[in-house]
């Protein structure tokens, strides 16, 4: 989806990213709100996973002692609601996964580095059916004001290789797994004096999996002539990111009240 983005005009990383991760000027993230509001029983334990650093390793005491420690913890935390129970649950499921020693399927080869590793771990969690409902993973380094090609060429390779491996590894699970790639804003069309580009408006979003009618480019492409650009020379935003996300989310939660996930916004979900 070209010319997709947010209505935020500040071109400030902080505000734009905050706005998009919160899905509008309401506290708390859109993804969190979606998981909370949608109908159907909430998944136990590993409902949501965020991978910036490593997936949590399981708790290990000295051999044989780990279980006793966990047993005592369960007792101490038995009066507390919520997080202790789901932590212990998640722990149990992660132990299962470690025993299974997951390997990528279908010859999938993830690119080296944290991004590839993270996708590999998410794929493993999805296929192990531990109740994972949503995962987020960051790939940073795109803010290429300077010498853009040296910064983002390899990132694009990494993104492409990672997504391809993920798709391959998932196999049939692709049908029920939506992947959305998004960023807080695009870059200015015109190159700056440092062989880079500055902050822009419209960018691109990628949507894959989950039954999307794929293999196409959605664009009301205005061209790049100066008179069609927004403000000081940016690609305008024709598709608000919420309309893209709403289309994806409605596939994942029958009865989801999308108006509450994206408040203060008149949704026109795209047909994906």
């Amino acid at each position: 989806m070209h010319a997709a983005g947010s209505e935020d005009e500040t071109r400030s990383h902080f505000e734009a990213q905050d706005l998009m991760e919160h899905g509008g000027p309401v506290g708390g993230g859109w993804l969190g709100r979606f998981l909370r509001f949608r109908t159907g029983a909430p998944g136990a334990g590993l409902g949501a996973v965020a991978l910036g650093k490593a997936l949590p390793e399981s708790l290990r005491g000295a051999p044989g002692e780990g279980q006793a420690y966990l047993g005592e913890l369960a007792r101490l935390w038995s009066e507390e609601t919520g997080s202790a129970r789901s932590t212990l649950d998640a722990l149990g499921r992660i132990e299962e996964l470690r025993r299974q020693n997951y390997r990528p399927a279908n010859g999938a080869e993830y690119p080296p580095g944290g991004f590839g590793r993270g996708l590999f771990q998410i794929a493993g969690l999805i296929k192990a059916r531990v109740g994972l409902e949503a995962a987020t993973i960051d790939l940073g380094g795109w803010d290429s004001h300077l010498a853009q090609s040296t910064l983002i060429d390899s990132l694009m390779d990494e993104l492409a290789a990672g997504l391809a491996a993920f798709h391959r590894d998932l196999g049939t699970a692709t049908a029920t797994t939506s992947v959305v790639v998004m960023t807080e804003f695009g870059r200015r069309v015109q190159e700056n004096a440092s062989l880079g580009t500055d902050h822009g408006r419209g960018s691109v979003m990628l949507v894959a999996g989950g039954g999307v009618a794929g293999g196409r480019v959605v664009a009301d492409w205005p061209g790049l002539a100066f008179d069609v650009l927004a403000g000081p020379g940016d690609l305008p935003v024709f598709h608000n990111y919420r309309d893209v996300l709403a289309a994806v989310l409605s596939r994942h939660g029958a009865g989801a009240d999308l108006g509450r996930v994206f408040p203060s916004f008149e949704l026109h979900p795209l047909d994906l």
């Binding site: 902080f14 905050d18 708790l59 420690y69 005592e72 913890l73 935390w77 997080s83």
Partner: protein
């Protein structure tokens, strides 16, 4: 801060609706600070932040108790921004007294309180930093300038690392950090929980005989030690 007159725009300016005349030079900064400090939104914002830190936000609420915030904001306003008067008003609120032992320690506070309470000698380096990164509370890593969230809910997912840190600290399995467990027990004979929690332990907290290492680990990992 260094003031460079050659780079300074010495013309008249308007900030938040108030006019700063031309020609004040470095004095412009004092004026801007006075305007911002005197703005009604500032008193409310600071009041709210201070109440979040010292009183906390009850689960399910959007912010700290409004009456307390208003008391603190009023103290800030009427004292002309005096921090002592402002904090004094906060500490006198019912809400503050009622908050003792109820606020959830964010990961940084949890780690530091564990290290201090056990008299640990630490290089504060690698392994500690890894824990903070895993728990999402490493210093200066928050991506946006509003800083790490100061209500409870975002931190509920950090339990696993807290439990793990507790056992690694108690059993001296953290490279770069060392505790003297026998010394600690000798300093607080039969009073380990009271020392750690600042109060008598409940029956559940004191129950069981796990040996000194595990007793310390469980105390640090217990619900009581997660709050202050």
């Amino acid at each position: 801060m260094e003031f460079d007159p050659s780079l300074h725009d010495d013309g008249a300016k308007e900030v938040l609706g108030e006019r700063i005349p031309a020609g004040l030079g470095e004095g412009d900064l004092d004026r801007v600070l006075a305007i911002v400090a005197g703005h009604p939104a500032t008193a409310r914002h600071l009041g709210s932040k201070l109440c979040r830190r010292f009183i906390g936000v009850a689960e399910g609420d959007d912010g700290p108790e409004p009456a307390a915030v208003e008391r603190v904001a009023e103290a800030f306003r009427s004292s002309g921004g005096e921090i002592r008067a402002t904090l004094s008003a906060l500490f006198e609120t019912e809400a503050f007294r009622g908050a003792a032992g109820r606020k959830l320690k964010r990961p940084f506070r949890f780690l530091v309180s564990a290290l201090r309470a056990t008299g640990a000698r630490t290089d504060g380096g690698g392994r500690i930093h890894d824990y903070l990164l895993s728990m999402g509370h490493a210093p200066f890593q928050y991506p946006t300038p509003d800083g790490y969230p100061d209500d409870e809910t975002p931190w509920h997912g950090t339990l696993l690392w807290r439990w793990r840190f507790a056992v690694e600290l108690a059993e001296n399995r953290l490279p770069g950090t060392r505790i003297d467990l026998p010394g600690l027990l000798a300093d607080f004979p039969g009073r380990l929980h009271r020392h750690l929690l600042g109060r008598r332990p409940t029956a559940a907290e004191a129950a069981g005989d796990h040996g000194p290492g595990k007793t310390l680990a469980l105390a640090l990992a217990s619900p009581g030690f997660q709050r202050y």
